[in-house]
Amino acid sequence: MIYVQGLKRNDVKYFRRHPRLWRLFALISLIIVSMSAGNALAAVDTERLEMKYEIEPVRALQVQADSGTILRFGPLVPNADMTEQILSVSIATNELDAGYRIYQELPYVTSSQGNAFPKTEVLMWAEDGKEGGVSQIKSPVPAISKKKILIFVSSKKGGPDSFRIHYRVPNQSIYDAGRYLGNVRIILDAK
């Protein structure tokens, strides 16, 4: 049995006896319902959806020489004071609880004539980080090496940090005349 809201039982019996009126009533009801549905589509509706998002782990490394975009030594005049250059290294990362290590690579420094600058004549040492990272070379060591040199280890919790690397040419010896070039590569590696 179907009851239409607003109709009493006696009214239903009345419509049964008069089927034409019943059909007319059904038609009018259908039109009213359709118009209501149309109004519903035009109204503001709000859907709530579950959204998932993922932030990629980022490790950004920045190096900056105090003298600009190049570590420049010289002109090296014999018996003059040693010269020092500073490289500032900063690490920006959103990875917490993930430590990292910083390495340096400087396999050679050579002149255009093919002469190699003496390996022991470029020294380096690093300061501790401002945010808890620890220098692994607190006293000067030769910077020119075919191997990667571990220079810095982050704190256990990782996170952003910054520190400075000092490069020195003692200038206590005679070097072949020339313009020597090389490439210092600072590497950030996950522990």
Partner: protein, 178 residues
């Protein structure tokens, strides 16, 4: 091994060779900065004493003076020349005197090149440059460097009978690296 096994094995290898390097690459970040060291070409050549004295035991022609050894400090970092690196000349002749010079020795103070005599024995010094020292060829890494003391011996011969008195002359010694 059936075809399915081969397929799975191949797929595993692809994953190992493609995915793993990508993962490693992501774990490492690096930045590079150039380094430049400029070493200018230089020569430092200076006598270890400002003057020296040659004395004749008499005044007759043919007499020889005493022999005096004079040192010169040499520091050079671009020695490309092999012969006649050190030359001696008299700006003007000394009347009645024949001045002679000879390579004595070179005391090398670094593991670089060395100097040897351009000729054996004493050579007459005149107004034209006379070679005293050549570079001793070697295969060392620092073959273009000289750092040490060169010693030259001087003596004088009376080409005629000499009048008594002190005489002074200026001797010019030149080092050339190329």
């Amino acid at each position: 091994m059936n075809r399915t096994g081969v397929f799975i094995g191949g797929l595993t290898l692809i994953v190992i060779f493609i995915v793993c390097p990508i993962k490693n690459a992501m774990a490492e970040t690096s930045r590079s900065i150039p380094i430049e060291i400029e070493v200018p070409q230089f020569i430092n050549f200076q006598a270890l004493q400002s003057s020296f004295m040659l004395e004749f035991p008499g005044f007759h022609q043919g007499l020889a003076s005493n022999t005096e050894s004079v040192g010169y400090f040499i520091a050079a970092n671009h020695v490309m020349r092999d012969r006649s690196l050190v030359e001696v000349l008299l700006p003007s002749e000394i009347p009645g005197i024949r001045l002679e010079a000879k390579f004595d020795r070179y005391d090398n103070q670094i593991d670089g090149s060395s100097l040897i005599a351009s000729s054996a024995g004493f050579s007459k010094i005149s107004t034209r440059p006379v070679a005293m020292a050549d570079k001793k060829k070697n295969k060392k890494k620092r073959k273009n460097q000289l750092y040490g003391n060169l010693w030259l011996q001087y003596r004088a011969l009376a080409s005629r009978d000499l009048e008594a008195g002190d005489r002074a002359a200026v001797l010019s010694v030149t080092f050339s690296d190329e």
